[in-house]
Symmetry: D2
Subunit: 344 residues, 4 copies
């Protein structure tokens, strides 16, 4: 951290800053420039960000600039080697492309079963599906709850595909863990810190979606909640951020994929269904994500999207999904990957 | 809702849309223009927004445009008369300006007590303070928990000021309700729907902060969760939204204040402390909020902001707060309000 | 500027950075911390921001952090005393509130004349009106051109109100200067650097609107173009920024008003007409702007807004404008200002 | 366009709206729902968007919803077949991937020449380079001007590569046209309508970058300025939009590439250099753009990026560019394209 003194400040103000730093257990290292003095803060990091808040109020201080990254356990500096998350033999982050697919929300046994079989046949290696659905409006469909979990578990058993489903509340973590192989934290809960603590204590891998307006740094700090509770099996999922553009539901930040790979050792996948909100953009954005180095994809599939109870507009039907898988294969190959569980 | 057919579509596609509408219990009303046909959807509203998702996938459909507002109970149309939230005799939304003030986080008994007395002396009529603090990083101060609630309750008892404090988790609603007069839902939890359901079932007034990147419509839909559970005592709080600007922590959307007053019957207050993140901007933005018609203010106050454990940079000291109250009074008077509980 | 070395870097990389700094005419001042070394860059400022771009590429460099503000002439540090822009005796930035009002676009002689008389009668001290209109679409009304300038000049002569109008192109600066007392640069031209150079060479005061997605720093750098050409008569105008919110046309960043007053000596006014795009929000946002310390307001007025050729939805009619002026007066008084040219 | 009446409105208000529509040359077509009436506006499109502004002010009108796209000449509906822009035999939009590469700014003859030869050798088919540079600050390097154009023309002659360079001002269009094969309009000038008119009158192909906070619709409307002046040779270029994320300079909206292909017949290319601002992200984002269907790429290349006068941090050196071309080739092949001018 660097304390930048204002051009008009003098010795008295500098002494006051150094004194405050020492009270907090740090040392101040002065550097006197032509126009102003800057004070380097030397010492161990914890508590620095709260300290920053208060230093800025001292007389003569113009700005306080952080220079360390506030996340540790998720950083590439902490662990240079890639984390590989192993879900019943499916390895995420290990070089292969892992495709998770299934309905936005489970509606009926037949819908769940037929979709599970269809995505498996097309080459998906993990089944996704929602039983607890966050909805902007209380008057929309909110999922089947535990009944939905049971249908998903049946589909898992029949197809052998591991299951990922969302958990919305700390009180549901145990229940959802009984059915699901991966716990998904949705975009609206990225900073639900009580929930993050709770899944951090579970022994299930966690997939953490990026918040609607979260910076990459905030996203990695949310991951830090899970990791610091002892759970090191975390997958990140880019699913679009909120911008002024209205043509798409969100704006996919594809550059977050290589950025995460550079900053962190954790795997990162892409969700072009929520990232675009448009069926016609799912395929090109899937290809783009793979080309940018995504470790996997999460795709919404429905037997009859135009009759879906939720998110039909962004769901692919079975044929479209199969076509997508066929188009992904050569792009994956072009960047040195192959699709997990699919014969090449 | 309006279904806009594409210019190239014909009778067959139109019939298909009308059929789909009728299956879902609606009627289609055709309007044939020079370039294209539009189909008005006639029928009761529930389920419309999920239907919209699927109509857009039908052949020949160019766009589906919602025309009804998706929130009901919070709308001015549903209830033309202003809701007044009564908190132990302090009336929010009743014409007077209600000032809530206190520390971001409770740290010690002395800090809590001295701040409570100071804000009361300066004219605040509700005490704010945090015991459970959401922090971007797990390594930052996260509040004293129930110990903090007890300190706040002591401060309430001594000063007679009603108390507002934040609840972070559905499991804590009962506990926090034992101590607090108003339940605060923070910005990161605006779409924590399980928590919204839970406070909707309580009999305490709820203050709901706007989400970091929430539209006004999404904010009112979040309110709808609380109202539809039976709790009609809701206060909205504008606290800044996320934009590209980095000079301030957030960008306060002051225009949301008159916009909410036009769309809804619920009271709306402003939080310039979080809205700006800068001590020097709290006063001008407080004045602006009052001039724009805010029903109240929420201000962070600390005995020694430069030593605060949290959010020091945006906290006022006692003298600054007192000065703020003095400057607010004439602006409030100029827009026909006076400060609740303060002798004029 | 501070060069932050990565934790793994050693003496060799540090030497390379220092060498590069010296080649560019600067000195490097080392500060060795527990985790990493930072290098303070000492020397005069010009060229620093281009240098920053290249330092970041050197081996072992983690980040390069600017600490000086890149604008000079517009900064409060350069000139502590407020600039007062004098327009034919109307002083902007001198403590009084200056109201500029008139039609978005001049349409006819009668419209121009009647509006000029009405805004004068209600207490405006400067007449605004557009002859060259930037339109998102080429198929919209683009203004009357020089014919419009002539009508505005007539209105100025009859009422005695100084005139402000927009100039869109470097080639039009001379022509517009013959008619107008203030040259307005619109939001879409805030970074039209050739145009900024050109008005910087003129002897007319310049009003520079904030760009649609411009940071405060970029805005002040745009001002710097005008000032560095020798023209020191610049007024800033906050008119809303682009965010995800769709209820309003733009989101007014009211906090920019006190922020500019803190960073710069130049006057800043507010334009709630473009800032909101909604007639019903113009008055509350005018009051908020005045309370936050704006040096003036710019308001669109039209005899019959529902028949206006441009921006009718955000224009006030004569009665609404008169009512606005009556409501502004007490708020201005409450913050220690009075309205220029209006008997109190 | 649809006029949505408020729930409380009656026959009188509806009649008033219909009367106003008829005055403006349109017809109103009523559709009476359970809760409210909507009025479809029937008639030819020009002037509709200005009319919308004023209808919203009529009593009883709740909202006015546009349903037609306001751009015509750039739309896929107007011209179903792809436009192919032919630049001295290099065909953009014709199925092959066209790579434009070169220095951000021309600095010296040697830099221009060596870069031109290097990018040609690596497989680029168009040379890019800036002589007139828009700079956020007036104190930064602003380009060599006409001297730079001459150096670029020399490099073109030696290598045979067609040239693209930016024009900043309407007054420079003729001069730049004498040297350049494509006129580039930069992001800050996307809504410089006078400049758009001027290049619309020239006979050179135009490359129009997306504005920093421009919606796709606004971008296509800016294109419409050029097309409506008679110049139909337009290329769009996605180069990142402004969001809250600070890790990258901008956020590349890769989904704009397939969106433009769906909405328009014009070719669209990607600029990952400006889109990310980071050398290390240029390659993955180039691959992503190609996978998403971009018709070309624009890449900044410099002999020694760490010594560049401008934008060094996002420039590739010769070896990095050559490596990029090698990595693009298989991804292009995977989506059915090959690189123009490169032996496969």
């Amino acid at each position: 951290m660097i304390v930048v003194m204002s051009t008009g400040s003098g010795e008295k103000e500098i002494k006051e800053v150094v004194k405050r730093l020492e009270q907090a257990g740090f040392k101040g290292h002065l550097s006197t420039g032509v126009e102003r003095t800057v004070i380097g803060v030397v010492g161990a990091a914890p508590g620095l960000s709260d300290l920053r808040e208060t230093l800025v109020l001292l007389p003569g201080v113009d700005d306080v600039v952080p220079i360390s990254k506030p996340y540790k356990l998720s950083s590439r500096e902490f662990q240079p080697v890639n984390t590989v998350v192993n879900v019943n033999g499916v390895r995420i982050g290990g070089g292969q492309l892992v495709v998770m697919a299934g309905p936005c929300a489970v509606e009926t046994e037949e819908q769940a079963m037929s979709t599970a079989h269809a995505v498996k046949a097309a080459g998906a290696s993990i089944l996704r599906g929602g039983a607890y659905k966050p909805s902007t409006s209380p008057y929309q469909f909110r999922g089947l709850g535990e009944e939905g979990l049971k249908l998903l578990a049946m589909a898992r058993q029949e197809t052998g595909l591991p299951l990922i489903t969302e958990v919305l509340s700390p009180g549901d973590v145990d229940l959802v863990s009984q059915y699901s192989d991966i716990l998904q934290i949705g975009t609206r809960n990225m900073q639900n810190f009580v929930l993050l603590d709770e899944v951090g204590k579970s022994n299930k891998p966690v997939l953490l979606k990026r918040g609607l307006s979260a910076t990459i740094q905030e996203w990695l700090l949310a991951v830090e909640y899970v990791l610091s509770q002892g759970n090191r099996q975390v997958i990140l999922c880019e699913r679009g951020i909120r911008t002024f553009e209205t043509h798409t539901r969100n704006t996919m930040d594809i550059s977050a994929i290589p950025a995460i790979h550079s900053l962190s050792h954790l795997p990162v996948i892409a969700d072009p269904s929520h990232g675009t909100g448009r069926q016609d953009l799912v395929t090109p954005m899937s290809l783009a994500s793979v080309a940018a180095g995504a470790d996997g994809l999460m795709i919404e599939v429905h037997p009859t999207p135009h009759l879906a109870l939720k998110d039909g507009a962004q769901s692919l039907d079975f044929e479209q999904f199969s076509e997508l898988m066929n188009r992904i294969a050569p792009v994956a190959a072009a960047v040195g990957r192959n699709i997990a569980g699919r014969e090449s």
